[in-house]
């Protein structure tokens, strides 16, 4: 499942940031779920975002991918040497720019087969023109074959090669998570956002996941990862950002973050200072 190259074009590997989030603030009525969040990710790196439940991690992903529009702040993204702004773009534009994501509670196309799920992602990069598919010309046929090949390679890459024809809904939980990753990789991203990919995974699956993330990062794709398991995080990420109540309360190397008193407090809490939910 590892070692193989990720099929498809390889993102730029020049050094520098891939993502620069500045002062992103998101409110829902009276509830502030992101409060001036800033972070920076180097190209090709794995950055982890951790934080207690409701800290705003998923909200941050939603702001980056265009699902939510933050009230303030910017998020610059460098697919190549020129940076673009992510805030204010619709989700499909963001995806086409090269930011792919998975969802915390899996969102596949349940009645499509595994390979078709990936195909949807891969075909986003296909030549435009809705009418093109109508005539089975040689070029179209070749394109279709190439797409399929790539889909199967991606499925192999995440270890689902033998499940290609199954409907997504019939896959096991862990398989569905990996299929989501394959679908996201299908869009040839330069930045991959993973929202709790290890949730509900067994110990063996976790180990596999670590290898998979390494393999993805090894091909130059930057990974922004939400994860609760600090050991898994330490195994894949060089840097960690800790969110709590929508604020960045710590950032740095895993060992630094683990020792940070603010982090300890956020996770364990001081009984009299604990705030209630919204």
């Amino acid at each position: 499942m590892t070692g193989r190259p990720i099929p498809g074009p390889r993102p730029s590997t020049t050094l520098g940031p891939v993502l620069d989030v500045r002062d992103v603030t998101l409110r829902f009525g009276g509830l502030t779920s992101l409060d001036g969040v800033s972070l920076r990710q180097d190209r090709g790196s794995v950055l982890a975002v951790i934080g207690p439940n409701g800290a705003g991690k998923t909200s941050l992903f939603n702001c980056l991918t265009g699902a939510y529009r933050p009230q303030r702040g910017s998020a610059r993204f460098w697919p190549a040497d020129d940076g673009v702004e992510l805030v204010g773009r619709s989700p499909h534009r963001v995806a086409r720019l090269g930011v792919a994501r998975t969802f915390q509670n899996i969102r596949l196309f349940p009645e499509m087969s595994a390979v078709e799920n990936v195909q949807v992602g891969v075909e986003v990069r296909a030549r435009p023109g809705a009418l093109r598919g109508l005539l089975p010309t040689r070029a179209v046929r070749r394109e279709e074959r190439e797409t399929l090949d790539r889909c199967h390679e991606l499925l192999d890459f995440v270890g689902l090669g033998h499940r290609a024809e199954r409907p997504a809904a019939a896959l096991a939980y862990g398989e569905q998570r990996r299929l989501e990753i394959a679908r996201a990789l299908g869009t040839s991203p330069s930045l991959l956002l993973l929202d709790e990919p290890a949730a509900g995974a067994t110990a063996a699956e976790r180990t596999d996941l670590v290898t998979l993330i390494h393999a993805i990062a090894g091909r130059g794709i930057s990974v922004l990862l939400i994860e609760h398991d600090i050991r898994l995080v330490a195994a894949v990420a060089r840097a960690i950002v800790v969110l709590n109540f929508g604020r960045v309360i710590a950032a740095g190397r895993p060992d630094e973050v683990r020792a940070d008193p603010a982090v300890v407090e956020a996770y364990l809490g001081e009984p009299d200072e604990r705030r209630d939910g919204p």
Binding site: G54, S90, H92, A100, F103, F109, S113, E123, R183, A199
Partner: protein, 523 residues
């Protein structure tokens, strides 16, 4: 206190991974357990007598349902009442003879359904998994079929028949056979039947194929679909005749050229309607499109100066070919129109079949199954939905051209009921299945035609309404469902993900604005 509130913060103590992951599942199981405990016969119900065990048993409930169906059927098929004696119709439905007949029918239905269940269970336990169809069929065969026969049928279905169905040549062969029947049989029919084949079956099959793109592929409920049919028909009137309408285009063209014109006009109308409204979530879209349909009909009715008003449109030139050396007019007889419709239908089916399996079709399916995920995967959902709308509309416009050149029409032709009829056909035939919806038109409208002397046309819609409800309950995939991904060893709905008992879009919890699809939270 909001309706749908963000999930409360959980304390870090419960943040164990396995717990988080399986939470939803275990919660559901708990709920089921709780429910079953509450529904257990004889369980103490606060402030009430315990229900007799018998009345709660599945067999008794099913008996109740069957008898209820029989009563409804008796009323529906019974005589009509009127304003002065509103209950006369219902009383007349239950003359002793009718009452006995329908009671017997209800009982028979009950016996059949129980018998079918028993058989199915037995077949299942005998190791013949997917024998449902066989079991049902065996039961229908009068109970004389014993288990081995049913099992044989089941294994046939699973084995050779299934292999044949999936085989490379079966589909083309079957389709060609159907086409041959469609070409060869109509000349043998009466003129009335040929007429019905054109204006009730053929045109509606074409309409259903178009709506199938919108509802079946993209999952958008369009209740104003018939408006595009009207637009096609009126466009034809404008461009082909100088005197049928109070107003007409500066030049008149051969009706064949009306086809592309109507296609374009209807597609543009589809985009114009869809542009602002496709952002809305499904049920709101349905209501807005319904209103659009109403408005178009109102306009057709009231704008006398432009549309001719309620009087309608007649006297349009029939279709004709005037090439050097070839002169042919479709004239007034139905059969030539029928063959034209067959050509159009086959053409549309072939094109859509190709489309369905192309990247466009996959994008539609993705949108239908999870719009948020599709958008996040880079599918331009808005554009694809607009495309579906425009494609559906243009097929509808096509049908409008055929209608206009064939026969008289007036605003009544384009009422809400017609929209709902097309929807009924699509539901009945199978959403997303081209052959299904064409057969749906044939079966539904054909039956209505055959029963035209027994059932007054106005009463047809009672049956159509009933068909829709029954299909949604018993066979939501329709008569001939589209072929999905093959699911080895997971027959039927077992493969479907378990959903909560109440249709709350749980995954996309609190969107700031209710009906807008795009604001559904992505988690």
């Amino acid at each position: 206190m909001k309706l749908r509130r963000p999930a409360p913060r959980r304390s870090p103590a419960v943040r164990s991974h396995s717990v988080r992951a399986r939470k939803a599942q275990s919660r559901r199981a708990q709920l089921r357990e709780l429910r079953s405990r509450m529904a257990r016969p004889g369980a103490a119900r606060p402030g009430g007598v315990p229900w007799p065990v018998v009345a709660r048993s599945p067999a008794a409930r099913r008996l109740g349902a069957c008898l209820f169906l029989a009563v409804i059927a008796a009323v529906v098929t019974g005589p009509s009442g009127d304003a002065d004696r509103p209950l006369a119709g219902i009383e007349g439905s239950f003359t002793p003879a009718r009452a006995a007949g329908f009671a017997a029918g209800g009982l028979a239905l009950w016996a059949l359904s129980i018998g079918a269940d028993r058989l199915t269970t037995r077949l299942r336990s005998a190791g013949h998994g997917a024998a449902l169809g066989g079991g049902r069929l065996a039961a229908l065969g009068g109970g004389a079929w014993v288990t081995p026969a049913g099992a044989a049928w089941a294994s046939f279905r699973r084995g050779r028949w299934a292999a044949f169905r999936r085989g490379r040549w079966s589909a083309p062969a079957g389709n060609l056979a159907l086409l041959a029947v469609a070409v060869a049989v109509p000349p043998l029919l009466s003129t009335a039947a040929q007429q019905a084949l054109v204006s009730e079956i053929g045109i509606y099959a074409l309409l259903a194929l178009g709506l199938n793109v919108v509802v079946g592929y993209a999952g958008l409920l369009d209740l104003g679909y018939i408006a595009f049919f009207a637009i096609g028909a009126y466009t034809t009137a404008y461009v082909t005749s100088a005197d049928a309408m109070p107003w007409h285009a500066p030049w008149q063209v051969n009706p064949f050229f009306a086809l592309p014109v109507a296609l374009v006009v209807a597609a543009v109308a589809g985009v114009v309607l869809g542009g602002p409204t496709l952002r809305l979530r499904g049920d709101y879209l349905a209501i807005v499109t319904l209103g659009f349909g109403e408005i178009v009909q109102l306009l057709a009715n009231n704008a006398d100066g432009v549309t001719g008003g309620p009087r309608g449109v007649f006297g349009l030139p029939p279709l004709s070919v005037d090439l050097p050396g070839v002169h042919y007019s479709w004239g007034l007889r139905p059969l030539p129109y029928y063959y034209l419709l067959v050509v159009l239908i086959v053409l549309v089916m072939v094109v859509f079949g190709r489309w369905e399996r192309s990247r466009t079709g996959r994008a539609w399916t993705a949108i239908r199954q999870d719009e948020v995920a599709a958008e996040a995967t880079g599918v331009a959902t808005m554009r694809m939905k607009l495309l579906a709308f425009a494609v559906g509309a243009s097929v509808s416009g096509f049908a409008g051209v055929v209608l206009a050149t064939k026969q008289f029409f007036n605003p009544q032709t384009f009422g809400l009921q017609s929209s709902l009829l097309v929807l009924t056909i699509v539901i009945f035939g199978g959403m997303g299945s081209r052959l299904g919806v064409v057969l749906g038109a044939l079966v539904l409208q054909g039956t209505a035609f055959l029963l035209r002397d027994t059932v007054p046309p106005a009463d047809r819609y009672i049956y159509f309404g009933a068909v829709v409800i029954l299909m949604m309950i018993f066979r939501p995939q329709g008569l001939l469902p589209p072929r999905g991904p093959r699911a080895p060893a997971s027959p039927g709905p077992a493969a479907a993900p378990e959903r909560p008992a109440v249709p709350t879009e749980r995954a996309g919890a609190p969107g700031p604005a209710g009906p807008a699809a795009s604001t559904e939270a992505a988690r």
